[in-house]
């Protein structure tokens, strides 16, 4: 009689041993073979997808995960094809209860000890809490695409709907690039006129005669080349909003005409015998201080009062530095979408440089800096090396003056950095990306002390 060999029990079941490890991980983890069939499925994966391990193992991963990208942009397929891992890609899944969840997924190839391809592994995290938070923060600090947490700007967000619902003329003052046109568009979009056109005209770009025909149009025969009637911008903006940019630049003659248009709500196309009624809301903008221009007799007082029913002042970016990180995040998000990239943010050093700059071109300049960095930065974070050289030097002089020498530049630069870090030397060195001893040496050579 043969003795039946009973297999000796192993100290642990290799399979359940693996499960214990996988189950202890907070992220959802599953593995697939080369046919996309699930070979293991941890506890967190069950909780996120609401699919049990028994039901998941052996199934196609797309049927289990139920993500919006599974059919057309499968991440595992991409990883198997390129061999490159995917890190923290945001996708939406629908769990077995019909709940839609945002998750962040990462993938990598799975090879055996000899390097033979076994399949792939995907880890994922429920990010609904983070997403909600991000959206709340965004909603709080943004209004119709205008991003800010500056107190002046938040006050503006509060009154913008009321300004929009009236049909009064609005004057927006602010340096170039502070968002005047953005605010004008927001007012239009919030107003009862939103279904009608928003038309922008830059008043400084055209000489008087052209500006007049541009605004009011002309009749055939009004001048030699006028073969046909041409409607003007007022006509184009009928029932909508006309944005008159750089209003401070118009000539006295034009000021008189505009005053009449605003007072009488009519205008005369060139060569016309009758005036035309209009229903156009005017939003004017200027990068000058119109009151100053009035005082200097360069702008008519009566026109000023006509326009200045509501005045909105947009502070320059250097007066709302707290917005810089927020705006950087906003622009990175926007360029990521536009350029199908996945830039994660800016390094501390790069942020320090961006925070130290004076931004004469305001938000437009910041947007351009980020756009430029996107050209140089392929992945990961925007680093110092992706920023233009002038930031390294120019930000050194706090009053915007050109510094006398390189020595002054460097001294200013270091002093600014120290001030930002409250005189903390190690922190300053880290932010500048130089060694602590280098910083000591430089300070000594420049005869500076941390508390200057």
């Amino acid at each position: 009689m043969k003795i039946q060999r009973i297999p000796k029990p192993l100290p642990f079941d290799p399979e359940s041993g693996q499960n214990i490890i996988l189950d202890s991980i907070a992220d959802g983890v599953f593995t697939v073979d080369q046919d996309w069939r699930i070979t293991s499925f941890n506890r967190a994966a069950q909780e996120i997808t609401r699919v049990s391990r028994e039901e998941a193992v052996g199934q196609m991963c797309k049927d289990v995960l139920k993500a919006d990208i599974c059919e057309k942009n499968c991440c595992l397929r991409m990883t198997m094809k390129t061999g490159k891992p995917i890190i923290n890609k945001k996708v939406n899944i629908i769990d077995a209860d019909g709940r839609k969840l945002p998750i962040s997924i990462s993938t990598a190839l799975l090879r055996d000890g000899k390097g033979k391809l076994l399949g792939a592994v995907e880890t994922f995290r429920d990010i609904s809490v983070e997403e909600d938070l991000r959206k709340t923060i965004q909603a709080k600090y943004s209004f119709e695409d205008i991003i800010s947490k500056n107190h002046q700007m938040l006050r503006l967000f509060d009154i913008l709907p009321d300004i929009a619902s009236s049909s009064s003329t609005v004057l927006i003052e602010g340096e170039s690039g502070t968002g005047k046109e953005l605010v004008a568009r927001a007012i239009h979009n919030l107003s009862p006129r939103k279904r009608h056109p928003f038309v922008a005209v830059n008043c400084s770009a055209l000489p008087d005669a052209l500006l007049e025909s541009e605004l009011f149009g002309y009749k055939a025969g009004a001048f030699t080349d006028a073969k046909k009637d041409k409607p003007g911008r007022f006509r184009a903006a009928e029932n909508g909003t006309l944005f008159l940019d750089e209003i401070g630049e118009i000539t006295p003659a034009m000021q008189v005409k505009l005053l009449r248009v605003l007072q009488e709500k009519t205008y005369e196309p060139l060569g016309a015998t009758r005036s035309v009624e209009h229903n156009v809301r005017i939003i004017a903008a200027t990068n000058k201080n119109l009151e100053d221009l009035v005082r200097q007799n360069r702008f008519r007082e009566d026109l000023f009062y006509r326009i200045n029913v509501f005045k909105i002042h947009l502070p320059p970016l250097r007066e709302r530095m707290e917005d810089i990180p927020l705006l950087i995040g906003h622009f990175i998000g926007r360029f990521n979408i536009l350029q199908k990239k996945n830039i994660e943010g800016v390094s501390d050093e790069a942020m320090a440089l961006l925070m130290a700059h004076r931004y004469p071109g305001n938000i437009r300049e910041l947007a351009n800096l980020i756009e430029r960095a996107f050209i140089l930065c392929k992945e990961g974070r925007i680093e110092k090396k992706h920023l233009p050289d002038f930031l390294f030097a120019a930000n050194a002089s706090p009053d915007g003056k050109i510094a006398a020498s390189f020595r002054d530049l460097e001294a200013d630069y270091l002093q600014n950095a120290l001030r930002r870090n409250n005189g903390n030397l190690p922190q300053t060195a880290r932010q500048l990306g130089i060694h602590r001893s280098t910083l000591y040496r430089k300070l000594k050579a420049l005869k500076l002390s941390p508390n200057d």
Binding site: R50, V51, S52, A67, I69, C70, G98, K100
Partner: protein, 136 residues
């Protein structure tokens, strides 16, 4: 009557919310059926639902569907068979012979209507219900 299947290639599309193709079957007479494919370009529940209504769809068979989406569609009186998987032909045959309730046609984790067999009670069973008119 018009029957719509949310499809990708020759299968039921896994996620209805992000799918963009409908196969519409219209029974013309005793044995003639007209098939047309239409695109859905909406991404929001109301848009999807309106598209189905515009097509005159009475029954929808689809893959995973979010609750707001299912509710929007059911509110227009369209019967929804959700969390279905399989090839178009298999699913159609099953629908016609009343076998869509079989486990093979359910996405993993989503079968279990009337299936009390799972003793562990971990709440992994599917809690969906077919919504709309055609309860079977």
């Amino acid at each position: 009557m018009k029957l719509a299947l949310s499809v990708f290639k020759n299968c039921i599309s896994t996620v209805f919310d992000s799918s963009d193709q409908l196969l519409i079957l219209e029974t013309e007479d005793a044995n003639g059926t007209k098939r047309t494919t239409v695109r859905i370009d909406a991404t929001d529940p109301a848009g999807h639902a309106a598209r189905l209504r515009d097509q005159g769809v009475a029954v929808l068979i689809c893959g995973a569907i979010s609750r707001p989406m299912q509710m929007a569609i059911a509110s227009l009186g369209i019967a929804v068979y959700p969390f279905i998987r399989g090839t178009v032909e298999e699913v159609l045959a099953a629908y016609q012979s009343n076998r869509l309730g079989q486990a093979v046609f359910s996405l993993p984790g989503c079968h279990g209507r009337g299936n009390g067999g799972n003793s562990r009670g971990r709440g992994m069973r599917c809690r969906w219900r077919q919504t709309g008119g055609h309860e079977r």
